[in-house]
Structures are given as structure tokens and as C-alpha cells.
Subunit: 436 residues, 2 copies
């Protein structure tokens, strides 16, 4: 079984949003009755505006999309005004689409006169695109579309995407775009041939993310995974035991987004790594039992850690599953029995549902059919979305030789902003090529 | 008006959780009928266990609280087993409270035999405390109670808590406890007399949080607020304009938790700082209109930024208000019109409610009765919870002189873990004093 979130709407248009804004005009309604269509926007009697998919546009929804000079700072497109600076009953006194036919070559626009005297001129395509795909079309930047998520199981995810260190270290936007696309689409990537230098993982994470430092942890900028404690801080990870699939640090608030895990040395044939796509397992759960899925979304459980040396408490109240409130798409998984996820004292009925749901989710996360296994070798650097992927390893035998991994975290948006930086750089370079 | 979240339950007990765990015992039900009470735990016929507030304890809820050597690693109290390692129908075959009367001096315990043969011995007080106050009583650390939140308006919040730099820099747990208690209770504190050194704010944030680095931003470890752009990155903040109350970086995913803002120089009499308790304004909104409160909790709006130089996109989908799912208590506010918070294309009815709610919330956030104003002078370092407090400033006149603020962020749990570190250190020291 494989899930893929494919968008059904038309390809994203990159035409930038254009808008004029003329305040305090004396505006008269130019549309009295009937329906005037600008390709895919229509205005009905009473200045009621509909988008191409039939959604009516609210006057305030339109107004907050005005990017004219009276509305937003022109370099940053940041809004000048506060929500209560607009009348509570803001309405539309005129709405006109232009050109009225498809024969014109100018951008198709929607001109709206508001009851406070302000007139906005909108790019009709931009309005339609955003109304139909809120996640892909922005205001301050128009193209904010991320790669579609591809969910995988053992049968569809066994080929972990791989790139070479030399390519990535070149810093070329093409390679960074490929790397971040893998991360956003599949949730992970392995970079091969990374020099086995102490601290290299943090340096590499900084190059990829574009941020000047990595996310700090109580272990410092990097943590060490060996068969003994890291700097006297104790954790089940810092042994030779097998590690069942888990996410890292669900007890941190906020949780670390992407993990960079670098093999400095591995002389052990045992201790194979494993990865599970938590989104896939959660979708399987949703399909089996919407009630189970719902209770794991709606119960704030308690994640705990003692700082590794019992000096403090790291406590986070958060559910095992999180979804986007508009689309219902999964945004985060939390699963790590060693970090608690303790259930509050619910009613018996609620507790029954919760514990059954958690048990079934754990079964799915441990199903061999959902598990991808691979051996990490010296020089491999595995990057994965810690809000989506579960990672683990088989037991290893420290007598076979030395095994030393070093890890680092960056925030979730370090990867998305690196993706956009590479995408925009390539677009700017292709635009300037076509200008030449 | 002033709100204060006072807990109604009894004072927190710090007695540590004790538990024995004896697996594979042959257990026979020791309670056949009637009710045997251990102070505030009762066992009814059929081995049904009730806590002191009358809540029935679910068998799996009890079992995940077992900290015996077969259940958890004894140094870290991290669980060994996965949820699906337990039978789906785990039940209780015996439950006994001890001692049966209040005459005994030993800790009061609840001994439970489970259907899989495992026997757990629980500290009855710990079970009751956690069942009644999930947020205050943990497993891996027992005392996880944070200070109660005190919400304020202009009349109750005008005296911003203040501490001296020399006291804080001493690193004494008493002072760090006071500082972090102010931050968790009131949402902010001003530290006076901080040396006007470039980068001092990040060094200070590291001392307070105990983390080796601050949270990175696209400006680097610190950002500069002057009347001109910071390193060519443009933002409305980097002008001399007035700044309406706002939170910083709602477009970051995750959002930065606590802000440290240090006045390196201020020769301007204008440009007074202002603070608004966003939790207070949100509670006022909830009181006025539960429907308005609800729509701001349930609508994932889109926060945006272009990286300051249009090189990238920082995009975050998140609501304006967030509450704890169990208690309904506020956990986060997002408000910053310059960063968008754009509404998706809702139905007309939903959009009406959303835009009215946002407008009313903005009015409350700008109400003079909710606004605390103060002048920051050279050496002041203002620390505030960026997930709760809104900050702003009046317009200043750069011709009056130089004004230079430097800021840094740490994650939300840097402050809570610093609070627990100080609290535990003081407890350990008072325990060793009483042992001496």
C-alpha cells in the first residue's frame, strides 16, 4: 500500500501578484446586474465576487490581499494596518473584471471598490490560485508550494534517496533543491562520503539550512551515539541495545525538526539502522479506525525527560498525531515510549479508546511491512524529518569494533526555507538567462 | 479586571514515587468484595480502583506508571516496553491498599496484580496527585509543577518585575529561580545594569537557559534594532516608526519562545516600550464571545516572511490562539499583521465570524486598559515570553540621538528547564542541610 498526496488542481502559476491601490476614490458601482466574467472570476448582482471554483470571496478576504502602496510596504509587502483599522462592516461598492474578454494581453485584473473608499486592483489568477490552494500560493512571496509528500512502506521506500557529499558541499542551488526536495517529499536522504571529522555534522547542517548555528540541545550543538553515556548524560540510546523505532526528543518544546546523523566510525556488522514513515502508519490507522486516529490527535499526553543527569525536567504536553486544521493532512508524529507520552486520567471509556489506539499505532509502527532497513557505513550522513520519520537500530556488539555516530538538529523551517532559497535562486538565474 | 489561574487542589507533595515490581508472581485476588480504603484510594468489588477524587483508574493507566525494575531503567525511569507489548485486554486480578489504616508510618501503597502476571506497587499519593493535576506531577521527575500564571492588564501589571544584573550573573539558584518564576508567572522581567557589550545578550541568554547556544535566526545569533536595516535585511521594525503590539516571528516554524532584548544605547526620550499580556486579552475575548475565541483557535492562518531580502520564504500555518487540549488553558498567542496571518478562503459565514473575531481581538490587544508602558534605558535587558506577550514601541526621533537594541531568542523550554534546574538544586541543597 502506498499513499501519495497529489494535488488535483492545476499547475502552480508563478506570475507575480500585481496590484494598484487608489485610496479615497469616489467609486460608483459599475456592475448593476448580470454576470461579467474575467476568465475564472465572476461578479454577480450586488457586487458579489466568485472565484473560479465557485467560492464567494469575502470583502475582508479580498482586502487583506491588497498589495497596493497604501496597504503594504512595497519592498517587503508587509501590511501597514491593524485588523481593527478596517470598518467592521466593510463591504464592496463596485467590482469589475478586466479585460472582459480573453482577447487582451494585459494581466487579467479584478478591480474592487470598498465601502471605506479604498480601491484595490487584484491579479485574478493569484486570487484564484490562493483560494484553491492556500498552502501553495502566498502574498509576501507568491510561490510557496512545497513538494508533494510521498508516503512509503517497505515495498515502496526501500531505496533511500542518496546524494554525494561533494555535490552537496558545492552549495549549487540545483543540488540543494534536490536534497531539500527529497527531505520534504520522502522525509529523508543519505549523503555519502562526508568527511569523518568531529563536529562535521553541525558544519554540514549549517551549510544545508543556511542558518548560522544548529538547534541547541542539552548535549551541546552535537550529540554522540556510542555504546556508553554522552558526557555523563544517560539515555537508553547511549548503550549497545536495540532501539525500537522512535522520534527524538518529543519532550522538548518545541520538538527538534530535522536530524542530521553522521557515521564517524562503524566497525560493527550488527546494529543495522531502520526507518519507518510515521505518516504512512498514521494514515493506515486513520483508514482502519477514524476513532483511533482522532483520540491520538486530541489527547495531549505528557512527554518527559530528566535532562540525562536528573538535574532538570523537560516536559511537553502534546498529542501523538497532529494534522493541519484546514486540510487534515498530517504535520507531526510523536512516538517514543522511553520519553513517556503518559496519558492523563481520562474517563474509563476515553481511556479504553486511547490505550487501544496507541497500542494499534505501535503495532503499525513496528510492522515489518512498514520498516525499511539499511546499514550505515562510515561517511554516511542520514538526514531525516524527526516530526515524521521514526528511526531505530538493531542491537550491536561493541566487541566487533568501534561505532560512533554524531548527531545534530535543525528546526523544521530550516529545510523549507533552504528549499525556497534554492528554488528562487534557480528561477532568478533562469529568468536572467531568458532576458539575455 | 485580572485573571489568575490558581489551582484548587491540595499543595503539591514532593515525596518521590516508590514502586516495586515483581513479575510472574502467582497472584490471587486478595480483595473479594467490599471497599478497602488507603486514605484516599479505594478498591471496590471486582478489583476496581478509584482515586481520591472518585476517578476510576484504568488498568493500563496504572501500568504505565509502574517504575519497578522490570518496567523502567532505574536510573532514568525510561520505559523498556512498547505499548503493543502489553495485552490488549490487560486487566487487574488483585488490588490491595496498605497500610489499611492511617496508623502506619510506611508510605501508603497500592499493590496491583495484572492479568499478565505482573505485580506493581505504587505510591498512592503520587497516583492521586497526578490524577488530580496532570500538569504538576510527573513520572521521570515527580515535581514538574510550574508557577501559576498571573494574567495582568494596565492596572495590575504596571510594575514590571525587575532584577539586577549582578545578582543574576552570580548564577545562584535562588536568583535564577526568581527570574524564571517571574517569566513563567508574569511573562516578563527586566534585568537592570547589563553591560553594554556587543553580543552580551546572547551570552546572558546562554547563562539563563543553560543551553550552549541561542536559537538561530536568519539574522544570526543576535539581531539589531536600530532606525535602519539590520545587515541589509528589511523589516518594519528596523525603522524609527511606531510598532503596534505584536509577537515576533510567527512565520517561523517553530516560533521562537522567549526573547531577550538588550538596550546597548538609548539617547532618545521618545520610543517608549509597551507590553500587552496576550493571554489576558484572549481571556477577555473568550468571556465576551466563546464563538470568537473558538474560531481564532481553530483556523490555521498563514504567517509569512520573505527572509528580509526576498531570498526565501518563511511560512507557517498556525492559529492565532492555542490552548491545552485537556485544560483549555492558553498556551500561545500569534498576532502580527506585518507577518500576515492570512485567512484561508472560508465559507462566507465562517469568514464573517473569523474576521469579526480577529478585529475584536485586535481591539482588545490595543486597548489602553491592557497596555503597560515603560521607558527602557541603557543597560536594561527585557526578557519576555514571545508566545504570550506582545511588545511594541512608540515612534522615536532618530535625531535625538542613537538608539540601539540587540535581541536574541531561546526556546520555550529553555526557561522551564532552567526553572526546574534551579528548583531541584535548591531542594537538593536544603535536603543535604537537613541531613547534616
Amino acid at each position: 500500500m502506498s499513499f501519495s498526496c497529489e494535488r488535483r488542481d492545476k499547475p502552480f502559476r508563478t506570475s507575480s501578484r500585481t496590484s494598484l491601490s487608489l485610496t479615497m476614490w469616489s467609486v460608483k458601482s459599475t456592475v448593476r446586474a448580470g454576470r461579467f466574467a474575467c476568465r475564472q472570476i465572476s461578479v454577480e448582482a450586488g457586487n458579489v465576487v466568485f472565484g473560479r471554483s465557485g467560492k464567494q470571496f469575502h470583502p475582508m478576504w479580498l482586502r487583506e490581499r491588497c498589495v497596493g502602496p497604501a496597504s503594504v510596504q512595497q519592498e517587503t509587502l508587509q501590511a501597514f494596518r491593524q485588523p481593527h483599522d478596517f470598518p467592521a462592516d466593510l463591504g464592496i461598492v463596485s467590482a469589475q473584471v478586466s479585460p472582459l474578454s480573453d482577447s487582451g494581453v494585459a494581466p487579467r485584473t479584478l478591480t474592487v471598490g470598498f465601502t471605506d473608499g479604498h480601491v484595490s486592483v487584484f491579479d485574478a489568477d493569484a486570487l484564484n490560485n490562493e483560494a484553491d490552494d492556500f498552502a501553495a500560493c502566498g502574498i509576501q512571496q507568491s510561490d510557496i508550494k512545497c513538494p508533494d509528500v510521498f508516503m512509503w512502506d517497505k515495498s515502496t521506500g526501500s531505496d533511500v534517496p542518496r546524494l554525494s557529499y561533494l555535490d552537496v558541499a558545492s552549495g549549487q542551488p540545483e543540488v540543494l533543491l534536490k536534497l531539500t526536495t527529497h527531505l520534504l517529499r520522502y522525509g529523508h536522504v543519505i549523503v555519502e562520503g562526508v568527511p569523518s571529522r568531529d563536529g562535521e555534522v553541525a558544519a554540514f547542517a549549517r551549510v544545508v539550512s543556511g542558518y548560522p548555528s544548529v538547534r541547541p540541545t542539552n548535549w551541546g550543538p552535537v550529540f554522540n551515539v556510542r555504546s556508553y553515556p554522552d558526557a555523563a548524560l544517560k539515555d537508553l540510546s547511549y548503550t549497545a541495545e536495540k532501539l525500537s523505532p522512535h522520534v527524538d526528543n518529543p519532550y522538548r518544546n518545541p520538538n527538534p525538526g530535522f536530524q542530521f546523523l553522521h557515521v564517524l566510525e562503524n566497525e560493527c556488522a550488527s546494529g543495522e539502522s531502520l526507518a519507518v514513515d510515521g505518516f504512512m502508519a498514521a494514515e493506515q490507522l486513520r483508514l482502519e479506525s477514524p476513532a483511533f486516529f482522532k483520540t491520538l490527535c486530541q489527547t495531549d499526553v505528557r512527554w518527559e525527560n530528566d535532562g540525562g543527569d536528573r538535574s532538570t525536567a523537560l516536559i511537553h504536553f502534546a498529542p501523538m498525531l497532529e494534522v493541519d486544521k484546514s486540510t487534515g493532512k498530517l504535520t507531526q508524529i510523536r512516538y517514543s515510549p522511553k520519553s513517556g507520552g503518559y496519558c492523563p486520567a481520562l474517563s474509563m471509556e476515553e481511556a479504553d479508546t486511547f490505550f487501544q489506539a496507541r497500542r494499534r499505532f505501535a503495532e503499525l509502527l513496528h510492522a515489518e511491512s512498514n520498516t525499511v532497513r539499511f546499514q550505515m557505513v562510515k561517511g554516511d550522513l542520514w538526514i531525516f524529518n524527526n516530526l515524521r520519520l521514526l528511526h531505530g537500530r538493531g542491537e550491536f556488539n561493541p566487541n566487533e569494533g568501534f561505532r560512533h555516530l554524531q548527531g545534530s538538529y535543525v528546526d523544521a523551517d530550516a529545510v523549507t526555507s533552504a528549499f525556497f532559497r534554492a528554488k528562487y535562486a534557480l528561477k532568478a538565474s533562469s529568468d536572467s538567462d531568458s532576458d539575455a
